[in-house]
Amino acid sequence: MYRLKYASATTFKYLTLIVGVFCALAPLVVVVFASFKTSKEYLNSSALAPPSDWFNFDNYRTAFVKGHMLTGFKNTLIIMVTALVGNMLVGTMIAYVLQRFAFKGRGIIMSLFLFAALIPGVTTQVITFKIINALELFNTMGSAILLYMGTDIIGIYIFIQFMDNISTQLDESAMLDGASYFTIFAKIIFPLLAPAIITMMIIKGIGIYNDFYIPFLYMPDPSLRTISTSLFAFKGPFGSHWETICAAVMLIIIPTAVVFVALQKWIYNGFMQGAVK
């Protein structure tokens, strides 16, 4: 009796998992199918039917060339790399100061960052827009870079927590050799922070790659499109050419999938660390 009950529970467990996998993958798989179909084939076949030719890359070519996706990838890459470098420097620097030195105002700075995390970003865009305008950064990559560069409390926490485990004896022995605080930061602390930096870069990088709001609002110029905004632009002119749109969607998901498969462990840990704080 117990055995029977146990067996049916196991069946139920796997059944629900399969349903879950189906729900997670079905919307994606049909996009893969459609991306390989010719427009005639697309119109005449069921959405669930696989393409007749798995090597028909015409849609990908059209999407990539006519959708100016190369520009999108290039702009996203420039913004991402610059913002990440800036963001990591800014984040580790402030964390170094806050963790290694006890000074007046330290508590105030911490609470300033903490409270800022509560401000919902979407709501303040109205004025942020005005500031970006005043800095003459509207319709330049500078706007997105600057907005992504500001560090947040999560990054600071992760860096500080990591630095707690870097012994101050290292600093002290370097000071005996006459190293300046700057040298200590640049030569000892920063390199030792590498795992935390990589975690943060992955989380932030995914966020920047996927962000739609900032480029949409601050860089409407077509030559400044990022992958998000160039994909969004497919909605108009390609309206009914779903096979092309699906290919464009795939072009954007493939890099994500590659990164995900390669860095799975880092990504899981990063998201967990980031959210629980």
Partner: protein, 290 residues
Amino acid sequence: MLANLSYRAQRVVIIVSFSLIPILLLITFGYVPVLGMFRYAFTDWNGLSPDYNWVGFDNFRTIFTDKKYYEGFINSIYYFAGSFVQLAIALYFATILSFAVRGRNFFKGVLFFPSMINSVAVGLIFLFFFRPEGTLDTILGFFGITNPPKWLLNPDIINVSLVGASIWRYLGFNFILLLGAISSVPSDLYEAAEIDGANRWHQFKYIILPSIRRIVAITLILSISGSVAPFEIPYIMTGGSNGSNTFVITTVKTTFSYSKYGLGSAMAVVLFLIVILVTAIQKLVIKEEK
């Protein structure tokens, strides 16, 4: 250069120079916008002209009396309900995958992957999914449902469709947080319970749920405050048409398309106060847990 200074002087130099840029960024893009938002909320500023008039609470009165503006909050109810559905599904999968399951990593990866996908891509994937005679309709056809509703055209259903897409997108994120929390429950607790004859449901109810209450509260409150301000998925998919407006979409349109910066700021203030309130409740709940 720095090395020639005494450590006392260096200390000052390093503290000032290392905190200058981060704090400047924080103030410029964190605090100045908030102050500005509260200021312009009481004006009729149009975003361009140098002068504007003080209008007192007029903007707020408009928001709460004109349906065009408060309509978004009514739709938030759908997203609010959706956040419970999402939590329940995430909790279920996190629980069964925290025990030995064949292909555990595969299931974990597949359930999580959607939350890594670009939001515009998610929007287009679901525009495709919900198309008339598209994926969903074809699947339903297998079950004999031949006359499905117009998922994105019918105002009675559109919000349910959009919430469905949002759940698909954010479920994996909740799931992975809960999974992490459940795996930190010491396994000898389960063994002890099994000896006492507890079944899986008892284990879930008396061991897992109490140990992860804190993270469940966090996830729930995160998705509740998210349900106040859904933007990307509905904006990308429908642009707020057919009755799918959300409060943030209205705010963005009021401000940037109709240049009503004063009114837009007032809407932002309303949203801001709601999110702060929800966060304050969160802090209270979590403190009590401790």
